[in-house]
Subunit: 162 residues, 3 copies
């Protein structure tokens, strides 16, 4: 993990909730982890959806948050492509092609990144605005703010906004 | 401001004219300013729209520039979400939610960033192509080119393309 | 080219296949090259489409790859705007405006970048998933993976995900 060498840290801010961008982010993250780099990923706005559990526990929410929660994709296996989604056909095709070509699925990429030591940090302000609670996110996710992100970025050699 | 410590500069290139991305950019910028970092923001392409005055003075333009000017959102309070805009309903909902949760509105975020010393640099080439004049932009914006941006980026610890 | 000064490298990962983002990427790249910086560009996912030849040789493909190849824009002169494409009208207007304002077209920007020494690296995994072959890409493009990109990024002063 080379704690002493700050230049070997990669910081990714995954703003997007698109399937293709989330896959790209986690392929880069896993590549960096395989090269022994430290990886911190920050999830604001739509990126929060990437971290949602498929079957979250019931939580109390006001009407508007419940509506937002319904409309946004719940978790990594329900995200859509940013282009050529074609009512889900494109996204299904992309998932099939990746499987055929032996590329890990997004949920597997996320699991592998976590197991290899990536820090996944959900943006508290975004969760508050969208009415998403910690219990609705996959296990092992930390809570943070823009200060957390800026701290990580200042230690990173490379920071990507995706 | 730590003029002597170049590693404490954040550079943001806001290419997008989407409400959500503009909010993210200015929340990060204001966070960095609060942490005493220098912030330079560069606005090419659709990002120019973020800087437009709501009520610009009349300027002489050719037909195609006038058309472009009409079709693009005029200023920070008219931008739309990149996702779930739903004919403006989503954007209005997001603005309402942010207010309810005490997150500053985009025009306030921009004002605060300017008052805290952020440099806002409009891309001259983009303004020329889209037919936008300096008088149509909010006060305090500088004019620059890709060289200006690369110069700022070379001094920055972190550069984000949003 | 300042081989000895690693701080003078710019690394761009062009994930997007949108006309406006590709233009932005190559304007920044050419600006950096003009300032004597080294430039490495990596093309995963939709970015691959930017590198496609308009008239590629016939290559053997399975049905799904052939379908993907048909649906995606073939090369720099067929890309569309990310916003206001309006069935191609917006993209045509943008191309016309750029010509009128003496901004180089995307194919010219790419050629100039290549002639000035930019490395263009196509992502092998993306090509495999989308069923695009090396012969279908413009000349002078290298093949690489996420490791190649991370290596370049670790030497770069600035890395942009576009």
């Amino acid at each position: 993990m080379s704690e002493e060498n700050s230049s070997e840290k990669l910081c990714i801010i995954l703003f997007s909730g698109d399937l293709d961008k989330a896959i790209a982010a986690f392929i880069i993250a896993n590549g960096a982890l395989a090269m022994d780099m430290e990886v911190s990923m920050f999830f604001p706005f739509w990126g929060i959806n990437v971290l949602r559990k498929e079957r979250p526990p019931r939580v109390v929410k006001d009407f508007i948050s419940r509506m937002f929660g319904w409309m946004m994709p719940r978790g990594a296996s329900r995200l859509k492509l940013s282009k050529m989604n074609m009512m889900g056909m494109g996204s299904a095709m992309m998932r099939r092609l990746m499987e055929k070509k032996n590329v890990m699925s997004l949920p597997d990429l996320i699991r592998t990144a976590q197991e290899s030591g990536a820090r996944l940090i959900a943006c508290g302000m975004s969760m508050d605005v969208m009415g998403i609670k910690m219990e609705e996110l996959i296990n092992g996710v930390e809570l943070g703010g823009v200060g957390t992100f800026l701290g990580e970025a200042s230690e990173a050699k490379t920071t990507l906004f995706i």
